[in-house]
Symmetry: D2
């Protein structure tokens, strides 16, 4: 069994747990993850901190890429750009991510973060794919 | 006394407190903030989650912009791009942010995140500046 | 008749003409523009220069935003991120752009650049919207 | 003699020639290139088209990365984000680019575009580095 399955998305995700983040689907280059908004996720203006929304995108992208890896491959975030459309204060945030291109060494992913049917933010990212022994970038 | 001072950076920052983030300087368009790495900030690979590093940048940028606001102005993140150079597992992360251009309605900010003298990540962002009554976007 | 119509997309676009860029549709927050690949648009590797592909996106985004402006409004590019998926050497490049959110002062646009049905690049951008007398930023 | 030297920056750069772009320095991970503003580089608003400024950055980044390549390596643009600060209508545009991190397979570059001492735009990019036989990403 490959080393990266339990570590990556079926295993322990400490920061995801701190945020209350859960994956509800993860297959074929797509993922959905969500979290319940809590007041300890607020910024000083009393709305959800941008870093929380970003963390959904980064984690969701990682899951989407992971679902396209072979057993001896790992991935890491190269860069992400996120754009915010609306502040949000309560309810459930859901992040849908999709690999839009998977090369040998790079994957490109898009995420949409919604509360209900309201678009809150969008993100685009590049991930590096490498063999477990090969190391980063 | 302006409404945004206590709310913004001298007041309660719930998500910053969850991360253990502290500002050590904040003036004239520059800020420095830091946090001690803890294992509950790890991703599934056992290194600090990219969302933690991003949150330092987003918060640090907000502080740098805040230091250039007039009393009746507020700001919000429009977009941020972050690039990661190296994983990090322990120690103190420090984020230096600087407003490189402050227009009437937009500010442009750069952040560098380091552990000691090692560059971990860089980010560039755009913030919107608006009057308290005016609202977003 | 508003000042910005003839100037912007029905009028003279010198750099667009240098590239051979044409708009084939432009309405309701969407645009399509295209150009025929020529060898003088190549980079040193003998494929279309990334700046040509970017220029399609920037121009197409400007058109899409323009189609959502009121008569006394102008727009300018704040920032664009572009990602390249495949090199291209011949044929017609087509760029579809769409305003995905139009606030009072900012618009967010996405572009897809294709050769036939092959996705060549994608871009996301932020444009500033302002009154003709108000100036930039 | 390596295959990529004449192709890349000492050889024919058709789109660079169309723009009037010249490299004035290129070594050790840094480059400087410039162009004289001409009216056929204008957008419909009568200022230099954003695609011209972007093309300086993309080309300058490529030069800076090239100066760090080994003889059997090639590079290509993965993604670039550019931010515009001021419009410009005449004079000389100069672009300074620097590789801020060069990994085995990825390089990260920053560019500043100026007219005289006025900062016009900044860009950050990721380039892929690969062996001549290996192909893209």
């Amino acid at each position: 069994m490959s080393q990266n399955i339990p570590q990556t998305h079926e295993g322990h995700n400490p920061f995801g747990e701190l945020l209350g983040l859960n994956f509800t689907s993860l297959e074929a280059g797509r993922s959905r993850c969500s979290l319940e908004i809590r007041e300890d996720l607020y910024n000083p203006y009393g709305v959800v901190h941008g870093g929380v929304i970003y963390s959904l995108a980064d984690t969701g992208m990682g899951g989407a890429v992971y679902s396209r890896l072979k057993g001896d491959e790992l991935c890491s975030t190269v860069e992400i750009k996120i754009v915010y459309f609306r502040p949000v204060v309560s309810g459930t945030l859901t992040c849908d991510s999709e690999v839009i291109r998977r090369g040998r060494r790079l994957a490109f992913i898009e995420s949409e973060i919604r509360r209900g049917d309201r678009l809150i933010a969008k993100a685009t990212g590049t991930f590096s794919i490498f063999k477990a022994e090969g190391g980063l970038g």
